[in-house]
Chain length 408, copies 2
């Protein structure tokens, strides 16, 4: 049960001129559901990407980075049900061969295809199944398949995650559509599980790269379900230029600001959707840390709270056991930390002020906040000007159930 | 259900000359069970202590540190059921007043009494109940009450943790007895939840301090149940000198080595007992990291594995989903990490060698190890000479249940 997240409606997800999408069933997932997605990008597009920082990155991540260096990609091949991670040299060969399977059908160079995989780690990807499914997959390419694709990249997600937005760049209306998958092994590090965002706007490569880095920094890189950074994270931003707006090249252009804001909004919507659909989640939690020396130390405190199993289980139980938040702040490892300056809030209810229990706090006030399904935990460090916010979820019986039974 | 841990038998727990112990019921716990323990230390003893590094340390920790500075303690007053943490100035006053209650009864200075508390954070300690119970508590002091005391300091522990050992220092037999409590909020940082170890050996203060620091470093500071460092951790080592052995003053003396080894063994037994009785634990896991550049980076990798909810739930499910171990190693943040040098083992089964899946690994071999209730995860970094080992447990439905219902 995702927290205040409903599935997108098919007609809300808008097509992007210059992009075609196809879905297919190769039989990689055991249950016969969609497990292949192909995205076609028209010539003349710009494409930016960020990938996981996990040192044990998956074979498709290694291959996608290499192929992207050799030129602007034309096709993105995504499979769900198998991560092709921890699969060694054979996994790399399979990832390359799956790109070849696309390239042979559509007559492009192999390096014009980027591979992406998500699912179980440590099992070889069944290449033959992908090769067999390829002709049908390619013939299904169409502009209006984003909705099905968002469903096709799901693994333990319970709800498909996709959203569209339109903005005016001067006189020209442009469209941005994004989709993402992710529910567990979520603590993105420079990227998220898998997300694909496309616009028909015309944007130069350096500006598109910058927009992606910034948008990710304030969305996918600010969420955590379980603290576990995936081996397969990737986020791709495509600008097809089909809208024929005046080419955007500088973030200070008003139109660039408008487009960036729309991309950032979509990134944040998708990142929040991943947390709302976090494995077993029953609550959506913002952890906001203010008045730190820099944003890095704000995040350090915020993630210590967000990753505490004791805080997460208290949130699940709607128990205003704020001592666990205080203990997490206390062990977060800030240098020269002076607890007598700290204030802690549950929503707008002050629990701790100047390191002391707030005089007017009552268990009833705390309980009222904890009964909600969206809660902000705010920590004021009172030692600087920086602030940062991350988003997380609680820790339930279902988290254990989902992850104890994942492969069975 | 603790993992391969049985309760000590009363006659296994040996008294220590110079130490008397009493237990009482003040009504701090709701269920009427023992919640007060008093330890009396004879004059002429040496006493060493280490305390939590959590910046939000509890009131009794602050008071105990201060009192200990003013002279060798004569009494240790321990309550369970309430941590007296996050309680501000009032909590400090209560901690001091509870020491006064002891001091008044036994006619010592208040600073000769050290207070210790464990239980719920964020509630004021009921001082009047402790004062009322004091006369009875003091009158119950006796040499043979260690066993009851080990039960009296329990909170969510399911099994009392105590152990004794005797060794010969030259011609002189000395005895060491230790007890500990702890089950959740366990990732000790320079100390553990609460542990008290005493010997009748004669040891100088500097040597006793050194023995405690070293023993803790290889026991309590190498365990984690949930990564949450408590606000109340403390470990106390007492040497009464009543055995009249030649005073030990140098770790290089053979007798000092003998005594240290016994103290280290007891510390490790108690630390392991805390993990075996970890909240909801069904498995006891050693995480061993070898061939690192220094022991700090070995621990960094080991704790990343030990704190991964995905690894812990896979262990609970006996699922050889080793991709989660690989992903944890990959995100552990070592500088210049070269995964092509890494090997990973489940017990003696090689999963990954030189960063590649081991050719002779089979799911059946992995399953055989995962079916055990004691498992060693070994990571060989192949970039140095250092190694380190920590101990942890799995993550079960019962962990969530225990912590969601802790205050209800």
């Amino acid at each position: 049960m995702a927290v205040n997240l409903s599935a997108p409606q098919q007609d809300e997800i808008l097509q992007i001129d210059g992009i075609r999408v196809a879905t297919g069933c190769a039989g990689i997932k055991n249950n016969g559901s969609t497990d292949l997605v192909l995205i076609e990008i028209c010539e003349g597009s710009t494409v930016s990407a960020v990938y996981t920082q996990n040192a044990f990155c998956a074979a498709p991540v290694t291959v996608a980075k290499q192929h992207h260096k050799e030129g602007t990609p034309r096709y993105l091949l995504i499979n769900s049900g198998n991560a092709n991670a921890g699969t060694g040299q054979q996994g790399l060969q399979t990832a390359i061969a799956s790109c070849e399977a696309v390239a042979n059908q559509v007559n492009v160079e192999t390096h014009s295809v980027l591979p992406f995989s998500t699912g179980v780690i440590g099992q070889q990807l069944p290449l033959a199944k992908i090769q067999t499914a390829m002709a049908n997959l390619v013939s299904g390419l169409a502009s209006d398949n984003w909705f099905d694709a968002a469903k096709g990249i799901m693994t333990t997600d319970t709800i498909a995650k996709a959203v569209s937005k339109q903005v005016m760049l001067g006189e020209q209306r442009v469209t941005i559509t994004g989709m993402a998958k992710g529910s567990g092994m979520i603590r993105p590090d420079m990227a998220t599980m898998l997300s694909y965002i496309a616009t028909d706007a015309a944007v130069t490569q350096p500006l598109l790269d910058m927009m992606l880095r910034q948008a990710v920094a304030h969305s996918f890189n600010r969420i955590s379900v379980d603290g576990d950074t995936s081996t397969n994270d990737a986020c791709i931003l495509i600008a097809t230029g089909q809208a024929k707006n005046a080419l955007l090249s500088d973030i200070n252009m008003p139109e660039a600001q408008t487009l960036y804001k729309a991309i950032a909004d979509i990134s944040q919507y998708l990142a929040h959707a991943i947390v709302r659909d976090g494995e077993g989640a029953t609550k959506f939690i913002a952890v906001k840390v203010e008045q730190g020396r820099d944003s890095a130390e704000c995040r350090q405190v915020a993630y210590t709270i967000a990753h505490s199993p004791l805080v997460k289980t208290a949130l699940f139980a709607s128990d205003p056991n704020w001592g666990r938040i205080l203990a997490a702040v206390g062990r977060s490892g800030l240098e020269n930390f002076d607890l007598t300056k700290v204030a802690i809030y549950l929503d707008d209810i002050c629990i701790i002020t100047a390191g002391e229990p707030a005089a007017d706090y009552t268990e009833e006030k705390g309980q009222q906040v904890m009964n909600k399904d969206e809660i902000t935990i705010k920590v004021v460090l009172n030692r600087g000007q920086a602030s940062d916010t991350i988003w997380t979820c609680d820790f339930s019986y279902d988290y254990v159930k989902i992850n104890a039974e994942y492969r069975s």
